[in-house]
Each structure stands twice: as structure tokens, then as C-alpha cells.
Amino acid sequence: MRNLPYTSYLTAIYLFFYIPIIVLIVYSFNNAQYSLLWHGFSLRWYHELFADSDLWLAVLHSVILGVTAATVATCVGGLTAISLYRYDFFGRQLLYGSIFILILSPDIVMGISLLILFSMIGITLGFWSLLLAHITFCIPFVVVTVYSRIVSFDQYIFEAAKDLGAKDSVILTRIILPLLWPALLAGWLLSFTLSIDDVIISYFVAGPDFEILPLKIYSMVRLGVKPEINALCTVTFGLTLLLIVISQLSLRKKP
């Protein structure tokens, strides 16, 4: 009991963090349409959620978009990080700096600038514009994740491999990729999460033919929060939690 002040302080912090989400999860099981009062436990909103085909189409779109964007971003970002580490080329510092600019620049600026770019070069807003936008904002996060991992290696292992007769391709496939895969996986999961819940940038570059989940939720909420959305958010929260746990575990285990 002597730790009471400490424990209660910690509890307060956790409550502050998680009360909104707990409330949302609790209400997703509330058997009432609009009421904030508790009307008993029900899985009704989950049934409605799983029956809503429009919503599921948006989920499917989001998953396709997220998987594609995360995969492309992981490939490009991973190679960028490896090149930044292994090669000294013209503009290396500039490239490294610009990655942080992309991470720090406000979403709204990215969104508007991408919108202007796409309309200038005549890309129809829809899947492709969304994909390009998502790849763009995911790459820097992959680069940073992978780069921070690669600099923690003993730099001489690459020289040792070369000394033992390994070609660049062998060094990549036998040394770099096996050592980097946890970081690549973490980068992929991070990208997927970023892509699946991005609203602001997507809002600018989405088209009417390709509806994605965050924008669908956003438009539904504008007409009032239906408990169905609570249910959807609960499912999304659960999945996100799972992804975070996987990515943390994969980074924690040293090869």
C-alpha cells in the first residue's frame, strides 16, 4: 500500500489514455440506437456491421490499398535505407534530410500539394492517386525504421563478406536481407497502419469511384455517430493492436 500515490498516478495516466477507447468499445455492445444510456448487452451492431456491404467494400478497398502501398513503400524505402548506408553518392545528405521533412510536414500540406500535382499531370482521382499518395507518405517511415536498424550493425561485417569473396548480390541476399527482415516487417506494418487510417491526405486525393474505410467512416460520422461505427472502430482497434504487437515482437527479438 505504500506505493499508493505511485499506483494511483499511473492508473490516472492509463485512464486518461484509454477511457475514450474503452467508452467506444463498451458502447459498441449497447443495445440502443441513439441513447447514451446503457440498454443492455447486444451484438446487434456487429451483426449490422457485417451485413453492411457498402462498408465492407470500403474495408476491402482500404486493405488492397494498404497492402499495395505498404509493400511498394517497404521495397523502395528499404533499398533507400540500404543505399544511404552503403554508398556515398551525390545528394546523399539532401536525400537523408528530405526524408525527415516528409515526416514532419503537415498532412494537409501533403494532401493539397499532391492534389495539385495529380490535377496538373492529369491523373484521375481514384485508386492510383490514392496509391501514389500513400506510398509517398509511407516511404519515409520505412526508411527511418530500416536505417536505424542498419546503422546498429557492425559495419565491418560487409567488408568481411567482401573479403571472403561475396559479390554485392550475395551480400544483399545472404547478409543484409536476413539481418534486416525484422525492420522491414516493422516498416511494412507501420506503413499498413498509416495507410489504413489516413484521413487527411486521402480526403484530398480520393475519387468517387474508390471509397476507402477512413473516409467512409468520416462521412458516416457527419450524419451522427451510429453504434455500428463504434463496432467498426472496435474491430479496427483490435486489429491495429494486433499489428503493433507483431511489429514490436519482431523488432525485439535480436537475430
Binding site: 557492425d154 568481411a160 567482401k162 559479390k167
Partner: protein
């Protein structure tokens, strides 16, 4: 038959106008254990990287096994490097680490297996073949690194301060193991270190380097007992240095004058009458006598005891001489002197056996 496995002709290396190595000439004999010794920043690691092929000399030629290796990549030189950090592949087992070079050369599986097993047996790691590097101790990792290099049967093994990250006791053990391994394999070892004790105890020959140049090449005994100049003398072991000049010459016998006391000295170098010289005396050669015990002090240097350091096997003394110069003396226990008890401030005489000193031409430092 001793042949030169590596020859360096006028090799220089500069990076961005900064001279790192200048005009090096060096011959490495086949099968010897050669040490590059020097303080950090003297260019010894750069020299190793020029031989291994990770860097190219700015000028000059390097011959390995009689062949000019200019522009040849590291793996085509038949030399392999053991890195300071070992640089083991952390995701591979000991077996895979050692087999890496052979697999790169696409040797048949059966041959790889026998050769790896053979080498692991030599370095006494056959039981650890399936372990990962992080499950091994520092000394074992070190042996894996050596095994990974020697399994490729290099002409020369280059070792870049491989013992510097081990603790003192383990380093001593590994020094002996490496030396024995080198004898067993018969491969030329070029070993880089800044630890003079390590260099003296392991090498067949030592290359003393300083500020990008070679100061002296010789056996451990030669560089310690007959240093070529003050730099070598100061870097290898401790030395008490007296300024003097040549008063007489009779063959190898020189008459000198130290702090006003006439003394005889011996040197195979040639000097001129009146030439200014440095007289070098190692602490272990300097004998310190209590003044009350001495009858004839005509060539002894008077002083007082400044500090007494008891070291178990020896007693180290700091003695302040009449000109305020402080000299170090290491006294051994023996039948003449089994107590070695000195009081601070006690008046003493310091002397040494004539001929045990080193006479060097005067240098302005």
C-alpha cells in the same frame, strides 16, 4: 627457404591531401609472424587495408606472392582479414560463418563440410558448430573469426588489433593460442597492435611505425635492446634518457660524461668526438644503491628516492637526480638484495653495468 610473400615498394597513401603513409618499403617473409606496432593514428591499420585491398595506395606498388596486386579486389589477393570487432555474421551459426567463404567460391558441399570441420577442430570449436556468435564468449568469437579466414587457406592472414576488446587475462591466453595456431598452420600472420608487450611476446619480427613511416624493423630483441632512435626507444618499453657527448672513442668503447660523471659506454654505431648523444638506460638495467652501502661512487649518479612502488615481483623506484631529472628504476629481489626497502627522501646512487646502455645520436624532439 625464406621468400618474401609480400613486398611493398615506396608505398604512400594520402586522403584529401592528408598524408597517412609515406614511402614505405617493407618485405614480409613467408611463414613469419610480423607485427605492425605503433600508437593509434600512426597508419598501421591503413597499411593493413592497403595489403588487404580495401584501399589502394596513392603511389607505390604492392606485391603479394610475387604478383603486383594493384587494383585487385580483396578476395582475389589470397589474403584474409580478421577484424578488430570480429565482424561475425550474427544470423549465421559458427559452421555457416566459417563456410561462408567456401560457399562463395561454390565448392562442393562435402568438401566444405570436411574443411570447416577440420578448421573448427584446430581452433577447438568443433562442439560449437551449431551455436550462434552471441552464444559464444569473446575468446571463442575470436577463434571463429580466425577460423573463418584461415579455412580459405590464405597466403597471409591479416589481424587488425584482434585482441584489443578482450580482458587482460583472456588476452594473454589468446596471445599464446594465436602464436601456436600460426606455428601449426604455417601461414604468414601480419598482426596490428598498439600494445608493445603483445608485439614483443608474439612476433618473429616487429615493424615499429610512427606518423605514417616505418621507424625500425627487427626482432623483438633488436627493437627493444637496440632501438634505432628515440621514438622507438620511447614507444617500446620505458627508457631513462641522459644527454651527453662523446669524449673519447676506442673502437666500440666510448667515453661519455653523464651529469658530470665520466662513464664508459659501448656502441656499434660510429660517432665523432664531441658529438652530442643520448644515453638510454632501461629501468630494469638501472641499479640503485643506498649511499651508506657504497664505497666507490666515482661513476655513480647521486639522487634521492622520490617514490617507491611495490609490485610484488619487483620494486619500482623514482629517483630524483642532482639535476632534478627523475629516473625510473626497476629493482629485482635477489640474493644480494632480498629486502629492497627504501624510504622516500633517502639518498641513493644510481648506476648500471657499462655496455648495457644504448647510445643514440642527439635528436631535437
Amino acid at each position: 627457404m625464406t621468400t618474401n610473400i609480400i613486398e611493398l615498394h615506396d608505398v604512400s597513401k594520402s586522403i584529401h591531401d592528408h598524408v597517412i603513409l609515406h614511402d614505405l618499403n617493407l618485405e614480409v617473409r613467408n611463414g613469419e609472424f610480423l607485427t605492425l606496432l605503433g600508437p593509434s593514428g600512426c597508419g598501421k591499420t591503413t597499411l593493413l587495408r592497403l595489403i588487404s585491398g580495401f584501399e589502394n595506395p596513392t603511389t607505390g606498388k604492392i606485391f603479394i606472392n610475387g604478383k603486383n596486386v594493384d587494383g585487385l579486389p580483396p578476395h582475389k589477393r589470397h589474403v584474409h582479414t580478421v577484424f578488430q570487432s570480429y565482424a561475425l555474421f550474427p544470423h549465421m551459426t559458427v559452421f555457416e560463418n566459417v563456410a561462408f567463404g567456401l560457399r562463395c567460391r561454390k565448392l562442393p558441399k562435402a568438401e566444405i563440410a570436411t574443411r570447416v570441420a577440420e578448421v573448427l577442430k584446430i581452433v577447438k570449436l568443433e562442439k560449437f558448430a551449431q551455436r550462434k556468435p552471441d552464444q559464444l564468449s569473446g575468446g571463442q568469437q575470436q577463434r571463429v573469426a580466425v577460423a573463418r579466414a584461415v579455412v580459405n587457406r590464405p597466403l597471409v592472414l591479416l589481424l587488425d588489433e584482434p585482441l584489443s576488446s578482450l580482458d587482460y587475462r583472456l588476452r594473454k591466453t589468446m596471445q599464446i593460442e594465436l602464436k601456436q595456431l600460426q606455428r601449426k598452420l604455417g601461414i604468414t600472420f601480419i598482426f596490428v597492435t598498439h600494445d608493445q608487450e603483445e608485439a614483443l611476446s608474439m612476433s618473429d619480427r616487429v615493424v615499429v611505425m610512427h606518423e605514417g613511416g616505418i621507424e625500425q624493423v627487427g626482432t623483438p630483441r633488436q627493437v627493444y635492446e637496440q632501438p634505432q632512435n628515440l621514438t622507438v626507444a620511447n614507444f617500446i618499453g620505458e627508457a631513462n634518457i641522459f644527454d651527453s657527448e662523446i669524449l673519447s672513442i676506442e673502437g666500440k668503447q666510448l667515453g661519455v660524461n653523464i651529469l658530470g660523471k665520466p662513464r664508459n659506454a659501448k656502441s656499434s654505431r660510429s660517432f665523432e668526438l664531441g658529438q652530442k648523444v643520448h644515453i638510454l638506460v632501461r629501468p630494469e638495467d638501472l641499479r640503485v644503491w643506498k649511499q651508506v652501502d657504497v664505497d666507490d661512487s666515482k661513476d655513480m649518479l647521486p639522487g634521492t628516492v622520490e617514490e617507491v612502488i611495490y609490485k610484488g615481483t619487483t620494486v619500482d623506484l623514482m629517483v630524483r637526480l642532482s639535476n632534478n631529472q627523475i629516473v625510473a628504476a626497476t629493482e629485482f629481489f635477489d640474493e644480494d638484495d632480498d629486502k629492497l626497502e627504501y624510504a622516500i627522501g633517502e639518498p641513493v646512487f644510481a648506476t648500471w653495468v657499462p655496455g648495457w646502455e644504448v647510445v643514440l645520436p642527439h635528436e631535437t624532439l
